[in-house]
């Protein structure tokens, strides 16, 4: 039996580069102005999976992502870098899921991929910085978790040893398998796309994506079945809809407020010698410094 690694990766709006045009005039967020990217720490997770795969005799990497149809891009980006295949969990009924509902859906998908040895996720997604989905999926799967992984040390069929990055230090831990690992941004960066794999997989598509294509993929898919990216819906996962979307999400957003700055009476100064000397004198006089 091969050593099976499931990687959880999410497509996120690039909140690190929120520009002025990210907010619409009416104060709502303009998602279209934000490019969709591979969540950065999920790339670290994919790299750790690739490294583990290279150290094990016979290993395979399966990527699972949950999101709208365009999140199929995550699967392509993953196979370009060496993952073996991927599944896209997509269904309108998932919309509005908080971390609990998300981890429920993801855990069902992972269970469908049993028997697996490892599940590897990023520590957190930059759209919310919650860092909850990893541990919650581990709980739902009933397996131990190793959070904040920085370095893969060793593994056998039965256990894994990982170095963790804590806020004030490090820890090396050994866990039995199966286990879930969340990977920290201090772990090695992901390798770039591999040119051969890019050629091989650039036509990988989901059924939903094919509906938008002009070209007929039937023949291509018959010859190269690996190009078909499978989509899983609520029905495929046999999910209880009560646990999904808004109804399955115990956290509700009560209110969203625009950030309005309270205007203080600021004293404007120039960079002239006079202004700056005056300021330093004043700070000394009122005993704030000195």
């Amino acid at each position: 039996m091969s050593f099976r690694i499931v990687v959880l990766a999410k497509q996120v709006p690039d909140t690190r580069n929120v520009g002025k045009d990210a907010m619409k005039a009416d104060g709502t967020v303009n998602r279209a102005a934000l490019p969709a990217i591979y969540n950065p720490e999920d790339l670290n997770a994919l790299e750790m999976a690739l490294e583990i795969k290279s150290k094990m005799k016979d290993a395979e990497i399966i990527v699972v992502t949950m999101g709208p149809p365009r999140a199929a891009e995550i699967i392509r980006e993953s196979v370009y870098r060496g993952a073996d295949k991927g599944y896209l969990i997509t269904d309108r009924k998932f919309a509005g899921s908080d971390t609990l509902a998300t981890s429920y859906a993801i855990s069902l998908a992972v269970k469908k991929l049993a028997p697996f040895h490892l599940v590897i996720s990023g520590r957190q997604a930059i759209d919310g910085d919650t860092a909850q989905v990893g541990p919650q999926a581990a709980e739902k799967l009933g397996i131990p978790q190793i959070t904040y992984a920085e370095e893969f040390i060793s593994a056998t069929e039965k256990d894994i040893t990982i170095k963790r990055r804590l806020e004030r230090g490090i820890e090396v831990v050994k866990s039995s398998l199966p286990a879930l690992i969340t990977v920290h941004s201090s772990a090695p960066e992901c390798r770039p796309r591999n040119a051969k794999l890019l050629m091989k997989f650039k036509h990988a598509r989901t059924v939903t994506e094919l509906q938008e294509e002009v070209r007929d993929y039937t023949e291509l898919f018959d010859k190269r079945p690996y190009l078909q990216i499978e989509e899983w819906t609520v029905a495929d996962l046999d999910a209880n809809v009560e646990f999904l979307g808004l109804s399955g999400s115990p956290t509700k957003v009560k209110k969203i407020e625009n950030v309005v700055l309270q205007q203080k009476e600021t004293i404007l100064l120039t960079e002239s010698d006079k202004d700056i000397e005056g300021l330093m004198k004043e700070l000394i006089d009122i005993h704030i410094i000195g």
Partner: protein, 340 residues
């Protein structure tokens, strides 16, 4: 029953971590508002006089689980204890530090109890809520307030139907305040055999190096903070020089940390440290809400920015329009000339 629970972290020295004491201080206020009790959970091996440590913060009940296998922290035994205790006690609210430990533990507990959890809250309040569709009124919910979506918005999150209402809060966000030196609660020892199973020890710690916090910007009275506008690691030296001259510490924004100009332990803001110094000098910082969340309670703020429209200027007492590289050397020079 139905009280506020705070999970208390234990340091290497057998003390309750600051972040937990801060949460107890906030928890006491919330408990008073709701007229309920404040309870602490301590899961550890060795601990220095726990009652003396906790009662002054207004703790009514300390639940303590002690065993040599419970320190250092590992996820499974701690989460089993917390989950089982919560099933018995049915807390109204449960608070955890947003630390390496709290952010590992709280989601596992929330998943197991199927209840809501909000990470990294910057404020916690009590308030009512009327459900739009059903017009059902929920009284006295915990408002879990945090910046969201790139910080362009502030979201108020609630858990109307599930209990406990769970939240994590970073160190320094709440103020550590003793409630009363003579306060007395009671101590309950948990019999852990009841709560733990063999499977809880599947993860073994082989090696561990944990350092004391080296840089203490949280306690600094003066902070010279730099942002992306400082430009480079070399330019950050000017901030260190000014900080040294005026007796302060250097802080930074996430953008400066991400760009490798300065170490992560100096990051101020929602995902860094929260500070309340007498003086905050913001150099080349635009003033995103996640950054302001960690510094807007500073008594005096000076902004140095070449953009007169930078949002930080709006909360600054003084704004110097110009180049960080030109202004900082002058500040150092005039400080040295004018101080005795």
């Amino acid at each position: 029953m139905n009280n506020i629970f705070v999970y208390c972290e234990v340091t290497e020295e057998g003390l309750i971590a600051d972040v937990s004491l801060e949460l107890l201080s906030k928890g006491r206020k919330l408990a008073n508002e709701l007229n309920i009790k404040l309870e602490a959970i301590v899961i550890c091996d060795q601990i220095q006089n726990i009652e003396n440590q906790l009662y002054p913060f207004g703790v009514d009940v300390i639940h303590i689980a002690q065993d040599s296998r419970l320190f250092p922290y590992t996820t499974l035994p701690h989460s089993s204890i917390v989950v089982n205790l919560f099933k018995e006690e049915k807390p109204e609210i449960a608070l955890f530090g947003a630390t390496s430990i709290g952010r590992d533990l709280a989601p596992r507990v929330a998943s197991s109890l199927r209840c809501g959890l909000t990470a990294d809250c910057t404020s916690l309040e009590i308030g009512d809520h009327t459900e739009n569709k059903t017009q059902k009124l929920y009284k006295n919910l915990l408002y879990q307030i945090r910046p969201a979506f790139g910080g362009n918005i502030i979201a108020t999150i609630i858990n109307p139907d599930t209990r406990p209402q769970m939240a994590t809060v970073r160190e320094g966000v709440m103020k550590k305040e003793e409630f009363s030196t003579s306060y007395k609660g009671k101590l309950k020892k948990l019999s852990i055999e009841k709560y733990l199973k063999e499977d809880d020890f599947l993860v073994e710690i082989l090696e561990r190096h944990v350092e004391q916090q080296k840089i203490n910007i949280k306690g600094a009275q003066i902070i010279v903070a730099g942002g992306y506008g400082v430009g480079s690691k070399e330019n950050f030296q000017m901030l260190h020089q000014l900080a040294e001259a005026i007796g302060g510490e250097v802080g930074a924004t996430r953008a400066a940390v991400d760009a490798g100009m300065v170490e992560h332990s100096r990051q101020i803001g929602q995902t860094g440290v929260t500070v309340r110094p007498k003086l905050y000098i913001a150099c080349g910082i635009s003033g995103a809400v996640q950054h302001r969340a960690g510094m807007d309670q500073s008594s005096k703020i000076i902004s140095i920015n070449n953009d007169p429209k930078a949002p930080i200027n709006k909360i600054a007492d003084y704004t110097i329009i110009g180049n960080v590289g030109d202004i900082l050397p002058k500040m150092i020079k005039y400080y040295k000339e004018n101080s005795k």
